[in-house]
């Protein structure tokens, strides 16, 4: 599904963001990517989207050889995966329905298909009743759910969420995480970059910890920090 082989990334200003990363994700996995700010997890997400180029090594996503991909192929890579960001990135002058439908319009999907898929995606995130509202009329959690619906509407095999709960209060964050977990149960591979310690600890999923550009830990049913192993987890 996703594989990074000996990947390094040095920015033009000399900052080394990633150093010899090897990572493999199988189909249907749910992986937390954790680490402090500046650890390199955002860079890793950018490499998967080919927003940045790896300086060394190879990146494979959804069967695409991202490293050798030409500029013209990038849109097709991005269509094959759903992405959710901390700042939602919705179109302010389009309704909830239009925002979600837009992801299908750009793929030149059939109108019939759009009319079928969009309500399904909105139902999945529980926003069917707010389809005709504009983003500014919604709460942060609802906006993020719209972004999720948009990410899912084309049925991607992989969902990448970069700090999806960074702008949300704890309770709403939980709702979003539960939704991500549910999406994963339906068969979508999910990568979540986050530093929400309590959520990571409670969900008991695979945790890949990055620090200073290096993978320091890769653990099934992991916790945010190693030393937290013995502290009680409430859930």
């Amino acid at each position: 599904m996703v594989e990074l082989r000996n990947v390094s990334k040095t920015y033009p200003n000399g900052t080394v963001a990633l150093r010899d990363i090897n990572l493999k994700l199988d189909k249907g996995e749910f992986v937390f990517l954790v680490g402090p700010s500046g650890s390199g997890k955002s860079t890793l997400v950018k490499l998967l989207l080919k927003e940045e180029e790896a300086t060394e090594g190879e990146v494979y996503v959804n069967g695409y050889d991202v490293t050798s991909m030409t500029r013209q192929e990038i849109p097709y890579l991005r269509r094959s995966l759903g992405v959710v960001f901390q700042d939602f990135r919705l179109l302010p002058n389009k309704t909830v329905y239009e925002n979600v439908a837009f992801a299908m319009i750009i793929t030149e999907a059939l109108p019939k298909e759009i009319r079928r898929q969009v309500p399904m995606a909105l139902a999945l995130v529980g926003l069917s009743r707010k389809a005709n509202m504009y983003p500014h009329q919604l709460s942060g959690g609802e906006q993020q759910r719209v972004a999720l619906a948009r990410a899912l509407v084309n049925n991607p095999a992989l969902l990448i969420a970069d700090e999806p709960t960074g702008n949300l209060d704890p309770e709403t964050s939980w709702e979003i995480m539960k939704l991500l977990s549910e999406i994963n149960h339906r068969g979508t591979t999910v990568i979540v970059a986050t530093h929400e310690k309590s959520i990571v600890d409670a969900m008991k999923k695979r945790v890949v910890a990055i620090n200073k550009g290096v993978i320091v830990r890769d653990q099934e049913k992991g916790l945010y920090r190693d030393e937290d192993k013995n502290t009680p987890v409430f859930y």
Binding site: Q72, R78, S80, R89, F102, I106, E108, R150
Partner: protein, 299 residues
Amino acid sequence: MKIRTLRYFIKEGFVNSYRNKLMSLASVLIVVASLIVFGVFVLISLNAQHNIRIWKEQPQLQAFCYQELDDIQVRRVEEIIKADERVLSYEKVTREQALEKMRERLGKDAAILDGYGADIFPVSFIIRLKDVSYSGEVVKDLEKVTGIEKVTYSQDTVELITRMSQWFSLGCSVMIVIFLVASVFIIANTIKLTVFARRKEISIMKYIGATDWFIRWPFVVEGVIISITGAILAFIISACGYKAVVDKFSQDAFFAQTSLLSMLSIESIWSKLAVYYAAIAVVVGAAGSFVSMRRYLKV
């Protein structure tokens, strides 16, 4: 490209130009200005060509005798013209006819001729040649005939008009190029503002997998909308303006009577003008969009 996608591009293009009303209007006006300059040029050169063609189709010479020639000498000149094989037909203009023509030409001011007799005018012959290519040699031969003072030569006028229209074309071409380049850049600038206003939207589109061309097309459409609107306005203005000039021209006594120049009717040239305007508008609009995209929309 699919029809529904095309419809989406066109809709977005209209939305873009509407959101950017003021700049769109400014761009439309500059397009109108440059197209009107172009239109004036086209109209004048079409008319010049039309008149040159008329002149060329009528290879006419007018041979003037010396004013003091008596009837016998005039008849001798007439015999020579009659005998020339290159002459298709000729027409004698008597002193009285010449006086009458001058009276007509002067119209209201004909009174200044009162008190003068027809004898102040020379006898002349209007000569039509079998072929325009003879005119040069015929003029030379006639000028050697005793009794003929001068031969006016419509070829002179043709050359003058040709030369004038060449200079005119050159001047207009320079102006048109300047105006069209200005239009392209002003349209490009308008689109730059749209791109700037929509940069967030463009980045979102890129993240969800829109291709470069999917992002670009609405901006191309915006450029074409601006230039087509400009072309339509320019067409209306120049067609009405031209019609007014033609009407004025046909009412003018001097031109109407002398039939020295004739103007093409608006009916006969509007379609040509419309095609030129449409073609230029599409090219200028698309060029403006592409310039703006090369510079401001590095997706």
